[in-house]
Symmetry: C2
Subunit: 324 residues, 2 copies
């Protein structure tokens, strides 16, 4: 090759080839273990090489890819949505839980337990087509602000995790979300926020019906939860939807334990990563006692299973993709 | 560009660029409409251009990608599987339907209706891990032969459809199976037979459980059908799993009607294709009166909706991928 041609090729080589692929991660055991794992499974001459077709990486969303305090953001949407619906038709607030939700009274709803939560989800997440529902979510994301950070919710995604997702895809991983959050809710922002397309998002979903409106078919959201994508539901949904066992799994709570267990119990090289919320200054610090994102089993058993426990306060130099 | 460089580029151009992409399709309106559609949506300068991310093509399996007579091949597997299980433990044949199935007495099972079918499916498709079940399917495909053609079942895939799948992928379509057949059953052969990986196969699925065996997690197949991927279930499953409306759908029976309707009712260019089984000599001829692959609505309403009705006898120069 002539020198001129070589120079031309070099000038086209992306700088990222030589740059740190995870710039928002501080030098740490966590970062080193992740980079070493990815290097190992993508080295075609190494003993731990994994073909691209089997490079499946799965991530929880709430508390893993974006924040989840003081309560799951989708639940804040549900309360705002109920308030908006009630402004047009106050009669929909037919129970104490629904009244509390429309007033943003989280405490009363939580005291109502599972039944109260289902009431709020049904009333705010059904009764329209998937398209109309997702337009509501998009509107809400465009205007709502988090009560503490004042950031749009989709700017409270974690910059270090967005970098990790991108790095995995650069290395021919297929990245999936596997979340207890709602499938239709997440699909509204996940492609733009994380680069993850609709067909790679697994989540909790409600019943849907195939109806005809004036001769035009439409898929409507009906009351009732069809599948809860949490705990053992995560590996079950992964097996059902992806049909392959992932080699990389990221989570942050005991709801992710089975997913990480299933991932790392397979043969060959595997990695489980748990985000430990240790940063009360820049984010929130919570684990064993938190009603949201409770983490006990992961802390007790994860290290013995070789999982990386990310110390958010020490391992991340930056938290949110939005300014903070 | 120098002449030498141009010659080098041309010598590397795959011949398929200039060859007929569907050699097992006779010149016909069906073939022309399909090729024209694919050309239109992939022409970046044309008014009907569709970006690769939205080039979703969905196909039924039984009767669309492979044969389905005298009964769905998976049901023949179920009967053979029951006979094998009963050889080890005759007590499992605890009902008349199960006894009939193990003897290959299809007539008696069909007379038993839906309950008899479910009994047979539960007894033959649950009680083991997904891995063990799929190994049984692989063994069966390796040895079983079709009673009339004497071909291995996975050589009774349709050569013209395998060519169509490949052509769509060459044009940056993502090809999916959306079948009433069993998810775990299809995944055993679909990648090799059709080039469709596990995560692009949607089907009927039974309940699964996440269990621990001697401390090792395993996903087991349990009795009970969790989702039937037929009729309205097809668009519902597509919306749920893919999250995009396909622009191309292929089927062969009224079980595919809703899927084609949902696909072609969307905005922009869309194509629905129905395989009409008209070839009693080389395959089977059946439609309105057939208990398997019944086709009434598709024939009556499809043409007005612009769907291509493929006349197997006249449009295909070859049927099976296996010798015939």
């Amino acid at each position: 090759m002539r020198y001129a041609a070589l120079a031309a090729v070099l000038s086209c080589t992306p700088l990222t080839l030589f740059a740190d692929p995870l710039p928002s991660w501080n030098d740490s055991d966590s970062k080193n273990t992740i980079i070493e794992f990815i290097g190992n499974v993508t080295d075609p001459r190494g003993p731990n090489y994994v073909t691209p077709a089997d490079r499946i990486a799965v991530f929880d969303n709430d508390g893993t890819l974006w924040a989840e305090q003081p309560v799951y953001f989708q639940f804040i949407f549900a309360m705002d949505q109920l308030a908006e619906l009630a402004a047009q038709d106050p009669s929909i607030l037919s129970t104490p839980a629904l009244k509390a939700a429309a007033e943003g009274d989280l405490q009363t709803i939580l005291e109502g337990g599972h039944d109260a939560l289902i009431e709020v989800v049904n009333a705010s997440h059904s009764g329209s087509s998937v398209e109309v529902f997702q337009a509501s979510v998009a509107d809400w994301l465009g205007t709502a602000r988090h009560p503490e950070t004042d950031l749009p919710y989709d700017q409270m995604t974690y910059q270090p995790m967005v970098e990790l997702l991108r790095y995995l895809r650069d290395k021919d991983f297929k990245t999936y979300i596997v979340s207890g959050g709602g499938l239709h809710f997440m699909r509204v922002f996940a492609e733009q926020a994380y680069g993850i397309p609709p067909e790679q998002i697994l989540g909790t979903y409600g019943e849907t019906t195939y109806d005809s409106v004036d001769g035009t078919p439409v898929i409507n959201k009906a009351p009732g939860i069809a599948f809860i994508d949490d705990k053992e539901g995560k590996p079950i949904n992964i097996e059902r939807t992806i049909g392959k066992r992932p080699i990389f799994a990221g989570g942050n709570s005991d709801g992710d334990f089975a997913m990480l267990e299933w991932t790392t119990a397979g043969d060959g090289p595997r990695l489980g990563v748990l985000i430990h919320h240790t940063d009360a200054d820049r984010e929130w610090a919570y684990d064993r006692e938190s009603p949201i994102g409770r983490l006990v089993d992961g802390l007790d058993k994860g290290p013995d299973m070789g999982w990386v426990i990310v110390d958010m306060a020490n391992d991340w130099s930056r938290i949110y993709t939005g300014a903070n």
